[in-house]
Symmetry: C2
Subunit: 190 residues, 2 copies
């Protein structure tokens, strides 16, 4: 039975090798993901740069990626279009949905140069984006003068619109009630 | 001094009359505002109706009013345009800004058939809209199947994106940092 320790030794060696290979593979995968995320965030940063260079809006860029390919990229165009909703993320989501011909982006990743404001974050959520990678923190935008923390505060209040400067009135309106109840079965949820 | 009680009586009568007139005026003003709000909310309700009739989106309408005049009106077009951001409020804000040629709507009122979702509320705030009048509560939309409460929950968490299904990663990226610091003096705040 002299072969027993030999076989045992070979088995141990093979197992160790497999373990080393697995760990290595995991490390490479992690690095690959790091590299991919870093690369697409660079594109978002360059979009932000364009917004400032062309005086189109604030220094914010966004990129939407599917299966490693850029589906849409955009930068803030609030000043250019005089549209307060023309944030990089909103424009990128609109472009991505148009390019893919569908309402939701559940197979995509969004890269934003800066932490999105509550409007853009909510839009991401409505678009079913499952992953966000961002660079600068909201505080960096705040330091420049872009402050959207009051919006989050308004939504954070015990009632939805508390703490905002906006006065809110609710009216019990029969036409409004009708539009919901009458169309109960006709509504297509998206 | 027989005229003293006479003058006193006349003064008392005049004061009472002034008081009655003031109260009446206040009541009429309040009724006028009620009527105005109710009327514009009807327009929003009819916009919501159009969205369903034409299968363009959910039963949501919005109207933006300045000095008693409608500046913009819109309904949800998510299904028509396959754009998840095409909420009535967003479209109305975009139209109003375009029509007035400016980024902010601080002299306007927004009328929404339903309580806005967090994206639309944030957009209202970004547009500096100082007043919102709405009809149906968010629960009515929720009952139909439109649920945006998870978005508010996500923003409500102790960290901005807690409680959402979206994974969030922050990367410290030199290009992102540069875009902020390099352009510190060039940025135009809106």
């Amino acid at each position: 039975m002299a072969w027993v320790p030999l076989v045992g030794g070979i088995a141990a060696l093979l197992l160790t090798r497999e373990l080393v290979l697995r760990i290595r593979r995991k490390l490479i995968d992690a690095n690959d993901e790091d590299e991919v995320d870093y690369r697409f965030l660079s594109v978002a940063a360059r979009e932000a740069e364009v917004a400032i260079r062309n005086k189109e809006g604030g220094p914010f860029g966004a990129v939407i990626v599917k299966d490693g390919e850029i589906i849409a990229q955009a930068h803030n165009e609030v000043l250019k279009t005089k549209d307060p909703t023309a944030h990089a993320e909103i424009l990128a989501i609109q472009k991505a949905c148009k390019n893919l011909g569908k309402i939701e982006l559940s197979d995509c990743v969004i890269y934003c140069s800066c932490e999105p404001c509550p409007m853009s974050f909510a839009a991401m959520y409505l678009a079913r984006l499952p992953r966000l990678v961002y660079g600068a923190q909201a505080e960096a935008a705040h330091d420049l003068g872009f402050d959207s923390s009051h919006i989050a505060d308004a939504i954070r209040g015990t009632s939805t619109f508390q703490k905002s400067n906006c006065t809110v009135r609710r009216i019990v309106h029969p036409e409004v009630a009708k539009v919901f109840w009458k169309n109960r079965t006709k509504v297509q949820i998206y």
